[in-house]
């Protein structure tokens, strides 16, 4: 019998690879971070635990949630994951948690800047855009 086990953990860390980002999911501190590039071969598989963790977290979040995105590249399937994740965070507004989202992009990366701006426009959550020299 093939089952994918998912045991919820308070803290989940994924180390960065050339195709997948560093991810930190820290429930006690309400910290969520994605840093690097997200172009996995199999996005669904890579983000399976992440999505499960997010579902658990958003149902029972910390008092304050800090989300940090620092992405250089992403593919279309990762954009789906990130958009869904942002919608889940948006749905937490009104629950007993504050949500703060920071979106970092490299100074010459107009695409990631505009994608961040798009998310800021469509979400209720405020997204703080930060231009940095290098990610």
């Amino acid at each position: 019998m093939e089952t994918t086990e998912y045991q919820h953990q308070d803290v989940l860390i994924f180390e960065k690879t050339s195709k997948t980002p560093y991810i930190k999911l820290d429930k006690p501190n309400g910290e969520i971070e994605l840093r690097g590039s997200s172009i996995p071969e199999n996005t669904r598989e890579f983000y399976y635990k992440f999505n499960r963790w997010m579902a658990e977290y958003t149902a029972n979040p910390a008092a304050k949630t800090n989300v940090k995105f620092a992405l250089m590249y992403m593919n279309s399937s990762s954009a789906v994951v990130i958009t869904r994740m942002l919608r889940m965070l948006d749905d937490m507004i009104g629950m007993k948690t504050e949500v703060e989202i920071d979106w970092y992009y490299e100074a010459d990366d107009l695409e990631m800047k505009e994608i961040g701006e798009y998310y800021d426009e469509i979400m209720k959550c405020k997204i703080n855009l930060h231009e940095v020299e290098r990610l």
């Binding site: 593919n75 010459d108 990366d109």
Partner: protein
């Protein structure tokens, strides 16, 4: 500049568009060595395309292969079109070779991202 037109090369796609007609098409491969430089004039044109006076916007994307820099450009483009849909009809045809599973999956991802404004069209080439 109402019209935008660049011809296809081995590593870059044909791009044709008209602001007054509200049409845009991209066809071929997109693997420019320096995506930023290649796409800069196109991005500038796009910012005016989004303000097109046309009653509807029709976009056709028929790419065989593209690099990660192009991927960001496409995500950005499609997200903008999705916003534009709030004020006028927007349609995007995602055309892929019936044997090209990767492009089919990518089209499906975009459909998941921005919904039914994308029509998937398989062709037999």
């Amino acid at each position: 500049m109402n019209n935008y037109k660049v011809g296809e090369t081995f590593k870059t796609p044909t791009i044709e568009g008209s602001i007054s007609d509200g049409i845009l098409s991209m066809k071929g491969r997109s693997l420019p060595e320096d995506a930023k430089t290649f796409y800069m004039p196109f991005r500038e044109w796009l910012s005016r395309f989004y303000e097109s006076p046309a009653k509807e916007i029709k976009v056709t994307i028929q790419l065989e292969y593209y690099n990660t820099a192009t991927s960001k450009l496409l995500i950005n483009l499609l997200l903008r079109l999705e916003q534009l849909k709030e004020i006028k009809p927007v349609s995007v045809d995602w055309i892929y070779d019936e044997d090209d599973l990767e492009m089919e999956e990518t089209g499906q991802d975009f459909k998941n991202l921005i919904g039914d404004m994308i029509t998937m069209k398989a062709i037999n080439s």
